[in-house]
């Protein structure tokens, strides 16, 4: 399945400034996405997942967002150092993104066919008619009659719009697909359809995928590896099997605890107590300690590194410190 590293993010730090407040959205995130692999970024709303995806694509709104540090490599090139012109050749071509809300992701003023053709014409040497034909084929590919390309977004339902967005993202056969909660805004019945179609197309084309979600069900279905994000940091990362079977971080445990498990007899769901810390004033020490049932004095002060508990399984928790295994 997995090949060589396609995208590697190293120590990414992103801040938002609003007035005098500085919001620490992403605080030193590193991960690798390998060819043909799907990595799930899991976490609550506001954990910084979307910011990471937008940083990779270089479309963070600046201001207020600012990349303060780190590197993002693709094909051995640091993409943060690329010029706008070089970056534009990457966007939509090598890396494409699917946005959360299909209702607002399409421009209401243009027919959908033109919106798909736009991305083709930007990256391929192709005639107008050729691009139009290709956009029809793409629509057919996602299960929409090609002639509906002449219709405007308001004439489509939410699920159909998301299919259009997916067709648009896949138009130039990108190596990497950033999917930002692609099914969250859809009806539950449509979610499965869309997800299944995405997986089919991904497998057909061998596209790597960064799947951003807060839904562990989707992770179980779609992902090979998982990175759990909390307050702008990766708190646990590993293969899907590792994360599901050997859950190591209390936050990940909490995420599972707040899911109903049909295999064991659970009387009551265990939600994680408390709220995500305000990202403009993060707690010292382990950022999860105010909500952690195992927190000790040390957790409140020490900066916690990622510990490798097993090859490829990283955990940011003092309880997993190999020097003081308890």
């Amino acid at each position: 399945m997995s090949g060589e590293s396609l995208i590697s993010v190293k120590d990414l730090v992103v801040e938002y400034t609003s007035g005098e407040d500085v919001v620490h959205a992403v605080n030193g995130v590193s991960f690798e996405l390998n060819a043909g692999e799907t990595l799930g970024l899991v976490g609550e709303t506001g954990a910084g997942k979307t910011t990471i995806a937008k940083s990779i694509l270089g479309i963070l709104p600046d201001p207020p967002a600012k990349i303060r540090g780190g590197e993002i490599f693709m094909d051995g090139k640091n993409m943060l150092k690329l010029s706008q012109k070089e970056m534009r050749k990457v966007r939509g071509n090598k890396i494409a993104m699917i946005f959360q809300d299909p209702m607002t992701a399409l421009n209401p003023m243009f027919v959908v066919g033109d919106q798909i053709a736009e991305v083709i014409r930007l990256h391929e040497k192709i005639s107008k008619a050729g691009a139009a034909k290709k956009s029809m084929e793409l629509l057919e590919m996602v299960g929409i009659p090609g002639e509906r390309g002449r219709e405007y977004p308001h004439q489509f339902s939410g699920g159909m719009k998301q299919r259009v967005v997916i067709a648009m993202a896949l138009a130039c056969n990108p190596q990497v697909l950033l999917a930002d909660e692609p099914t969250t805004a859809l009806d539950v019945t449509i979610q499965a359809q869309v997800l299944e179609m995405m997986m089919r197309l991904r497998d057909q084309r061998g596209t790597s995928m960064l799947m951003i979600t807060h839904d562990l069900g989707i992770v179980a279905e779609v992902c090979d590896k998982v990175a759990v994000i909390y307050a702008g940091e990766i708190v646990e990362m590993g293969t899907k099997e590792h994360i599901f079977d050997f859950t190591s971080h209390p936050y990940t445990e909490g995420l599972f605890g707040s899911l109903p498990n049909l295999n064991t007899k659970t009387k009551r769901l265990k939600p994680i107590p408390g709220m995500m810390p305000n990202p403009s004033s993060l707690p010292a020490g382990c950022k999860f300690h105010p909500r952690c049932p195992y927190a000790t004095e040390a957790c409140k002060t020490e900066t916690v590194p990622l510990f490798e508990t097993e090859p490829g399984h990283l955990v940011r928790c003092l309880r997993r410190d190999p020097r003081q295994v308890r």
Partner: protein, 319 residues
């Protein structure tokens, strides 16, 4: 689409009728005796009475209104001036193009200055460019047009002698009056453009366009502007009305022989048919412009077009 246009045209008729009633009534109740105005203060009562009878002033309101409507709409006759007895229709017809030119040119100027200013402001939010643009736009909307006209004519015509201070002729005669009333329009278009661009730039589909690798220029001028245009189009239409009235004042500063000078002289001489006719014609032209704007609106926004298009076959879409 055709249905929409027809519907708008049908709505246009009662409005014109309403405006006619309004203007007629307003001047019907105007104090003062037209006969006195026509004949001067040394006319005898008999002369006055004869004059009133001739003008039909002794008839009832309804009779007079019916006569006025039939004159205006069936014969295109706006009556005669009390002062010199000349046909108002002819006078208006020869003057209207000048007023309309001044108004139209100033709207175009306002758009050409205001929209770029608003776009620069919105795309550089919170920078010095934005702040400068905001202040310029604020100054623009706050300056009374007729005062700007006076000051411009002082500087560019009277002191520097670059442009003619008054009259009507080539393009050089247009510059000062148009600029003087365009500035406030430019200010308000800039403000409208800024706020609607800011609103649109936040939208997801703009991020989508960027994510496709589209150039920033096209993101702004194709994807964002097209959406931001809807409220701006409406405003530009309304502005033509504002500029038509602005032109009335500018004309009196720059002595342009348009509707404005005609109307102002009508006001000064208590020559009410002149005022009546001028107001009516300007209002009708304004209504036609608003009609065109509404139609343009439908062309700009597919969602509005869709509302009036033939009913769709496909009603049940995917769940």
């Amino acid at each position: 689409m055709l249905r929409y246009v027809l519907k708008r045209i049908l709505m246009f008729i009662p409005i014109i009728l309403g405006v006619t009633i309004f203007v007629f009534t307003l001047l019907y109740f105007t104090p003062g005796d037209p006969a006195q105005v026509i004949l001067g203060s040394d006319a005898t009562e008999e002369e006055l009475e004869a004059c009133r009878e001739e003008l039909g002033l002794n008839d009832s309101y309804l009779e007079r209104f019916a006569r006025y409507c039939s004159d205006v709409f069936l014969h295109g006759n706006l009556g005669e001036s009390y002062i010199n007895g000349r046909s108002i229709s002819e006078e208006v017809a020869s003057r209207m193009p000048k007023t309309f030119t001044v108004a139209l040119v100033s709207v175009i100027l306002a758009v050409c200055i205001g929209m770029p200013l608003g776009i620069i402001s919105a795309t550089n939010q919170y920078t010095w460019k934005d702040n400068t643009a905001i202040v310029l736009a604020l100054l623009g909307v706050s300056m009374p047009g007729f005062w700007v006209g006076l000051m411009l004519s002082l500087v560019f015509a009277l002191k520097l002698g670059l442009l003619p201070p008054s009259g009507w002729g080539g393009i050089e005669y247009l510059i000062l009056p148009c600029v003087s009333i365009a500035l406030s329009g430019a200010g308000s278009i800039a403000r409208q453009t800024r706020s609607s661009m800011l609103e649109v730039i936040r939208q997801d589909y703009i991020t989508t366009a960027r994510a496709k690798g589209q150039t920033e220029r096209k993101v702004i001028y194709v994807h964002a502007l097209r959406n931001a245009l809807i409220p701006i189009v409406t405003q530009v239409g309304t502005m033509l009305g504002i500029q038509l009235s602005g032109a009335i004042v500018a004309e009196s500063i720059f002595s342009i022989p348009g509707i404005g000078t005609y109307m102002v002289s009508g006001i000064k001489n208590r020559d009410y048919p002149v005022v009546q006719g001028s107001v009516l014609v300007v209002a009708i032209i304004f209504s036609i412009v608003m009609l065109l704007v509404d139609v343009a609106y439908a062309f700009v926004d597919p969602r509005i077009k869709a509302q009036y298009a033939a009913p769709k076959k496909r009603t049940a879409k995917e769940a």
